[in-house]
Structures are given as C-alpha cells and as structure tokens.
C-alpha cells in the first residue's frame, strides 16, 4: 500500500517542536494534497506527524483514553473522506485539530461538563488545602481540569502536545499574540488556584462556591462553539 515517493522521502527539517511554522504547515499541505491524489504514504506520514499530539489533546481535554481513541479514529476517517472530493485544504493541521476539537466539545456537552471563561469561578478550586508538594501537584492537575475550555486547550496544546504558540495560532486561526495572551491568562488563573490551595484559606471551605460552579458547569456554553 505504501507508495515510495522521492518527495516524501526527502528529509523533514522541522516538526511540531522545532523549526519554522511555515515550513511545517506547508509540508502538511503538501502531504494532504498528495494523499488526495492517491498517495497513501503521504497519509501515513501525516498520521505519524499529528496523531500523537492529537491523541494527547483528546485525552487531556476529555480525561478518558477510550473516548480519545474513538475521536482520533473518527477524525482520521474524516480526513480519509477528503479524498473523495476536490477540496483544497490550505491548513491541514488546523483542519485536523478543529475536527477533533469539535468532537471533544460535543462529547463534553453530552456529559454536561462545560465551563466558559465568563462562568469561570476561580474560587471554585482547590477544594482542600494542600499540605505537601505531591499533594500540591495533584491540586494543580485538578485545577487544570477545572479551567475554562479555551484556557485549558491552549495549555494542553502547548504543555502536553508540544506545539508552540505560533503553531497553535495557525491551528486555531488566531493571531500568535492572542494565543499568547490567552495562555498567560490561563497560567495565571491556574497559579492563583494553586496558590490559594497553598495558602489553605480560600478554597478549603468554599463548598458553596464550588457547588455554584458545578451548577454552572452543566451549562452548555455558546461562546466556545467555534
């Protein structure tokens, strides 16, 4: 099935973690175009380049490995369907990411777990005081899960999937400055929550506040439905 191609065998100078963004994405566009023209090897290379990051993103956003596997599988099947048409995709990584992202959002909506930035209550977490370093780390991870979706996904793409902010900007079709600002706000919110747990004051007995946020979390936000 794999078809040897001189172009595809050319050394790849850049990847998701290194090199220039433009070269990475133009390589993706070339691979997708070749795949649409019948080159299965191009699809395999595209899969190898993006499937690990895509899977990590889904796992961290959904918090469930089985669901993440299903969504990544469905996403790649949708990519395969592109071969039936003549659609020209200029931003393949963005397309792949948005397909997975929309599927994750749909899954989160079915669960009824959804927080928008406006509804986010930074006092909701932590629910208890952290007494040791490892416990503080657990609080940090829990706080990450409770961040608004827009904040969390930027941190996940950067910290877990290894994408740079400019690459994330291309994928999300935003400016790098906007993504950088969003990431800074997300990190700041996360830090405040963990610092509050460290102080042992604000989030410990704030059960009422956390219950309020949990009620808000069931609301399906409209703002992030991109």
């Amino acid at each position: 099935m794999a078809i040897a191609s001189t172009v595809l065998n050319a050394p790849i100078q850049v990847g998701p973690d290194t090199g220039e963004t433009g070269a990475v994405w133009s390589r993706d566009a070339l691979l997708l175009q070749r795949f649409q023209q019948g080159d299965d090897a191009a699809f395999l290379e595209l899969f190898q380049r993006h499937n690990p990051g895509l899977f990590r993103y889904c796992v961290k956003v959904l918090g469930n490995q089985s669901e993440a596997e299903d969504i990544t599988q469905d996403t790649w099947e949708k990519i395969i369907q592109l071969r039936k048409g003549t659609q020209v995709v200029s931003n393949p990584s963005g397309l792949i990411f948005r397909m997975a992202r929309n599927a994750c959002i749909s899954q989160l909506r079915r669960r009824g777990r959804w927080i928008t930035v406006e509804e986010f209550d930074e006092n909701a977490l932590p629910l208890h005081a952290a007494e040791s370093a490892s416990e503080l780390e657990e609080v940090a991870l829990a706080a990450l899960e409770e961040l608004p979706f827009e904040y969390r996904e930027v941190l996940v793409l950067h910290l877990y999937c290894g994408y740079r902010y400019d690459e994330i900007a291309v994928m999300m079709e935003r400016t790098p400055e906007a993504i950088w600002a969003r990431a800074s706000r997300a990190r700041g919110q996360l830090r405040k929550m963990v610092a509050a747990a460290l102080a042992g004051g604000r989030g410990i007995n704030n059960t009422q506040s956390s219950q309020s946020t949990a009620a808000k979390a069931s609301h399906v936000g409209e703002q992030t439905n991109e």
């Binding site: 099935m1 649409q36 023209q37 019948g38 299965d40 699809f43 395999l44 899969f47 190898q48 499937n51 690990p52 895509l54 899977f55 990590r56 796992v59 961290k60 490995q65 990544t72 599988q73 790649w76 099947e77 395969i80 369907q81 071969r83 039936k84 048409g85 003549t86 952290a130 370093a133 503080l136 780390e137 657990e138 609080v139 940090a140 991870l141 990450l144 910290l159 877990y160 950088w180 600002a181 800074s184 706000r185 990190r187 700041g188 996360l190 830090r191 405040k192 929550m193 963990v194 610092a195 747990a197 460290l198 102080a199």
Partner: protein, 216 residues
Amino acid sequence: MNEQERSRLIERIVENHLNESERAELLPQLGEGTNVRQELLAEQAISRAIARDRQQLPVASTTPSPRLLDALSNAPVLPSAAASFWGSGGLLVGFSLVIVVGVGLMLFPGLFGISGDAAPTSREVPPAAVADTSSSIPVVIPSTSSEPNEGKKWRREASPSASATTKGAAKTEKELGNPSTPVLDGKPAPPTEHQGQQPQLPVFHDNSGAMPISPK
C-alpha cells in the same frame, strides 16, 4: 507590569532554572509579600505536575489501526485525481492539442502520411501531353498557357471533381512549378503550338506508340 508580563516573569523564574544571581535580579520586579512566594511555589508545583502527568499519559500509536487502513484502502482515488488533472489545465492542453493536430493535418498532410499527389495523379490530367516513345513511362507535359491560371481553369472545366481535391492540385502545381513555365527534363519547355489556343484533352500513348489512349 501588567498581568501577562507578571505571569511570564514568574514562569521564567521557575522554569528556566535561573541561577541565584539572575533570580535575585528578577524577583524584585514581582514585588514583595507572601503572595509572591505562594505564586512562585504554585508555579513550581504546576510545572512539576504537568511534567509528571505528561510522562504518564498513554502513548498514541504511530501506525494507523487496521480499521483505518481498511478505510484508506477503500477510499477512491480517481475522482479527485481526474478532477485535479482536468481542473489544472489538462482540458485546455488536450483541446489545444486537438486543434493543433487538426490544423497541421490540413496544412501539412504529408507530415501525417497523407500524400497530396494521390488525388491529381488519379484524376487530374495536364492539358497537354507529348508522348515520349523513348521512355517506358508516359511523360506528361503541362500546359504552356501564358495565363497563369489557365491550367486551373482547364482543370475546373475538364474535371468537375477537381474541386474536391483542391489542395492536392495546389501541391501538384507547387511541386511542378509555375504552370506557365513547365519544366521538362530540368529545362523550361519550349512554347508549343497550342499556346494561346483552347487547351486540348491530353492524349496518352502506350510504349509502342501505336494506340493512343484516351484519358476518358
């Protein structure tokens, strides 16, 4: 310093593993107080937690699943490939090629293996012929009419079907030269007694010269 710059500064202090002197230079920019210390500790905890969690994440496969490979093998290729070919100018190139070949066929039939001599040798006969009994092949001598188009005029009168082979006739004239100055054995033929008169039907003779052969 706004919130974003402050956040970035905290990240730098914690993540970049600065030495003590560098850290001592940056810390005053954050201000003083217990909140600063808590923020730094929180940032350290976040960094460690994410690093640990990243290592514990399940690893994605770098090879597609059998189901995905099956879908890949069943994905049709032709519509997209064909559409891209025709859409990328293949249709224009193909159409242009047909036009070029057609025009070339009309102008230069010899290049395509079609002889322009076939039509005149079968049907057209020059207006005058002189038998050369010394040769085994009958020699055709074209008209010596002073009018340049006399030969054509004669052909139109003598052979109504000649109009269907105009190009063949034109080629024949071209190969033979101007009909008003016919060439015989490499030399211009001398004026004949038929010059200025109505052209006569040619007469062929067989090798023996005994029996004239009518072109009809």
